[in-house]
């Protein structure tokens, strides 16, 4: 079972634009399906399900599969209520559409923060139940019997008293003519046959025989391959390029110069790589030419001496420290980190006269579409984006810098062009997780039990840039999440975030470093979970190693429900 690329379907969806506001209503669904797609007989009760008269049922996946298993979990939610077996379905990547496919935690089509099942648990079950209700109604109508006397199971509706059956495919045309019911009944959890059961991953077969398609595997007629070198210093520009030698490399077709990068377009990646190596590029490093990691750390250290926004305060830490038998202090630094997904950044783009088509792997498909529209100047509805399996996301593919760059390159190329970053480029131009500087202190009583805890996190506010709507009261949930959810039950706790964005020499684009979320399950606040144990065990408590941590775990209070407090 492999997600199929149904370009017609995607194009129709994309072209339908505002019409998709009605996507949940069958009238809208029917209108958007043009005769060219033979949709007249397809049953499309909502944006997630398409049942053709013949062949497999197609389930449309609103979240990106990057290894976390959503292409198994989300189909289970749909199939549970639709009453269909996993082997009867095929999957399709959703096209970009925030109205139809938004993750409710973010208000847009975004895959991240381990939220897919929580966000889609009920919506997908409702989608499945709606379709099942309509298929049963269609069957009952054709037999002129009470729908309550019919049962759906594994893609077949049975009239229980007479054992007559009709397949979903046979019912598709009739069901498509019905109104979407106002009320539906979801299955009771005790009746679940898929949810809660161990399931085999639906994507495994295609991932063991080479047929799974990632963005980098896209191939189009007449497609060229490009690789690129961006300014090694962020904010730098191309001062001069000598491409004479590169142009002599067999297979090199074109050198594309952008203000901050140079790309070599060729028949294949080998020629493109050789061409890139043969370029002599002189860079103007720009305002950040002399910035070093040491400068940045120094700035963070200085900022750590000032108070920040209080993210959590329990009890009275000040007096708790005053009454403590011992105070232990520590500074933890989390370095810049590249996401280093196994599949290097890549994006394929075909810019035509007045349309733009993009093939890539993205955790934020609507942002990919929006940035392509911005770069080309085309209206949104003239941009089509196709998603693929992601060869790792880790938050790197929450950014669309590589899409924007590929579109800028493709604007100058008279053919579809696949832009593939070398591994060196991928690491150098990753959108790094920021450097964080954490100042922690614990007050211990006579027995070595922590009675006071302060944690000051110093670093940028990624959310302020990335999801400004979720940046409230100066609190960056991405920076503080793990720290406020301290696993240890300490009576006096204070967590602060000192937002430190700027370096004195910072002049470009309002940001010195591009910064991104990175897959760190407890965020930078992963530090305290470990450090609490270390401080209590190693530094503070005179006892066997590990004892302090056990003490802490015994009192630990899990507070996972508080995740995304400001997003829900």
């Amino acid at each position: 079972m492999t997600p199929v690329s149904r370009r017609e379907f995607v194009t129709v969806l994309a072209a339908a634009g505002g019409g998709l506001l009605l996507g949940y209503r069958v009238e809208g669904a029917q209108r958007l399906m043009s005769p060219a797609t033979t949709a007249a007989t397809n049953f499309t009760p909502n944006a997630f399900i398409r049942i053709p008269p013949e062949g497999r049922v197609t389930l449309v996946m609103p979240q990106a599969e990057m290894g976390q298993g959503v292409y198994t979990a989300l189909p289970m939610l749909l199939a549970e209520e639709l009453e269909i077996a996993p082997e009867q379905i095929q999957l399709e990547h959703a096209p970009p559409d925030n109205k139809l496919y938004a993750n409710r935690f973010f208000g847009e089509q975004m895959t991240g923060a381990s939220s897919s099942v929580r966000a889609f648990y009920e919506p997908l079950r409702r989608a499945g139940a709606t379709a099942r209700t309509m298929l049963v109604a269609a069957a009952a109508a054709s037999w002129k019997v009470d729908p309550a006397s019919c049962r759906a199971h594994k893609g077949v509706v049975t009239h229980t008293p007479t054992r007559r059956t009709l397949t979903y495919g046979a019912l598709a045309t009739r069901a498509a003519a019905l109104r979407v019911p106002d009320t539906i009944t979801l299955k009771a959890p005790k009746d679940f046959t898929l949810i809660g059961t161990p399931a085999k991953r639906l994507d495994s077969p295609s991932k063991v025989n080479g047929t799974a398609k990632y963005g980098i595997d896209v191939r189009l007629p007449g497609m060229l391959i490009a690789t690129v070198a961006a300014s090694p210093v962020l904010g730098g520009t191309v001062a001069d390029v000598d491409d004479q030698k590169a142009k002599t490399v067999p297979g090199v077709r074109q050198i594309v110069r952008l203000d901050d990068a140079v790309a070599v377009v060729a028949d294949h990646m080998w020629a493109a790589k050789q061409g890139l190596a043969a370029l002599a590029i002189r860079w103007d490093a720009g305002p950040n030419a002399t910035v070093s990691t040491a400068d940045i750390v120094q700035g963070l250290a200085k900022a750590s001496e000032t108070p920040g926004v209080t993210a959590r305060k329990d009890g009275d830490p000040e007096s708790a420290f005053a009454g403590a038998a011992k105070k232990v202090e520590a500074i933890y630094e989390a370095p810049f980190l590249a996401h280093a997904a196994m599949e290097p950044m890549n994006c394929t783009v075909h810019v035509r006269k007045d349309t733009c088509e993009v093939w890539t792997g993205s955790q934020v498909l609507s942002r990919a579409r929006a940035v392509a529209a911005e770069v080309t100047g085309f209206p949104l509805e003239k941009v089509v984006v196709h998603n693929h399996y992601l060869g790792g996301g880790f938050g790197r593919r929450l950014e669309v810098d590589y899409v924007a760059q590929a579109v800028r390159i493709a604007k100058q190329v008279d053919a579809p062009v696949k832009v593939v970053w070398t591994r060196e480029e991928d690491v150098q131009h990753d959108v790094y997780r920021p450097y964080y500087y954490d100042r922690l202190a614990a007050g211990l009583d006579q027995r070595g039990t922590p009675v006071a805890w302060t944690h000051r996190i110093v670093g940028p506010a990624i959310i302020a840039r990335y999801l400004p709507g979720a940046f409230k009261d100066g609190k960056d949930i991405d920076a503080i999440d793990g720290a406020v959810q301290l696993l240890y039950d300490i009576p006096a706790i204070q967590v602060e975030h000192v937002r430190h964005e700027r370096h004195p020499q910072q002049l470009c684009r309002g940001e010195l470093h591009r910064r991104a979320r990175r897959r760190v399950v407890a965020g930078p606040g992963g530090v305290p979970a470990g450090s609490a144990g270390q401080i209590a065990t190693g530094a503070g408590r005179a006892g066997p190693r590990g004892e302090g941590r056990r003490m802490g775990e015994a009192n630990a209070t899990w507070t996972r429900a508080r995740r995304f407090p400001s997003l829900q």
Binding site: S204, V208, N209, G210, Y214, I216, I225, M342, T422
Partner: protein, 160 residues
């Protein structure tokens, strides 16, 4: 012009002799199951077999592969060992993002063709060049052992 024997089929390909096998497979022949990860033989994503040996196709020029049998992920299931490995991979749900798994399977199949019952040390030695960013190493090891058991069981069955 170079003659390559890929998955049992000989073909004449007009590419520079120093062009790595990886790009011939992916960009010239459209066989995209073999993955590009680093281009420097550091990650193993591009692993194919050359006369049964696991090699990194990203640093193997076609001139070094001429006249030898290249086997890729697209055809490894046609071998008895490769099929067992794929079955074990599916049974244990080894892949996550899956991007490294073509390379993992090509290395594992080469190992099992050589050592029917590899020890942990054999597995470490054969697989250490294949990195996985999702961290599927535990299941990779378990699946290699399962494939080895399965191959030996079916071998006995065939004799009786």
């Amino acid at each position: 012009m170079v003659t390559l024997k890929i998955n049992g089929k000989s073909q004449q390909i007009d590419v520079p002799s120093d062009m790595p096998v990886l790009w011939v497979l992916r960009d010239v022949l459209g066989m995209t199951g073999t993955k590009f990860g680093c281009g420097m033989a550091l990650c193993g994503a591009c692993t194919v077999q050359l006369d049964g040996q696991a090699i990194r196709s990203c640093v193997t020029p076609v001139s070094a592969a001429a006249g030898k049998a290249i086997t890729t992920i697209e055809a490894i299931g046609a071998t008895a060992v490769g099929r067992k490995v794929q079955e074990a991979w599916i049974a244990l749900d080894v892949p996550q993002c899956g991007y490294c798994q073509s390379g993992q399977i090509m290395s594992a199949s080469a190992l099992l063709a050589r050592h029917a019952r590899p020890t942990d040390a054999d597995i470490d030695a054969a697989m250490s060049g294949n990195i996985c960013r999702c961290g599927t190493y535990g299941r990779v090891r378990a699946a290699i052992k399962q494939a080895a058991r399965s191959a030996s069981t079916s071998g006995k069955g065939a004799k009786s």
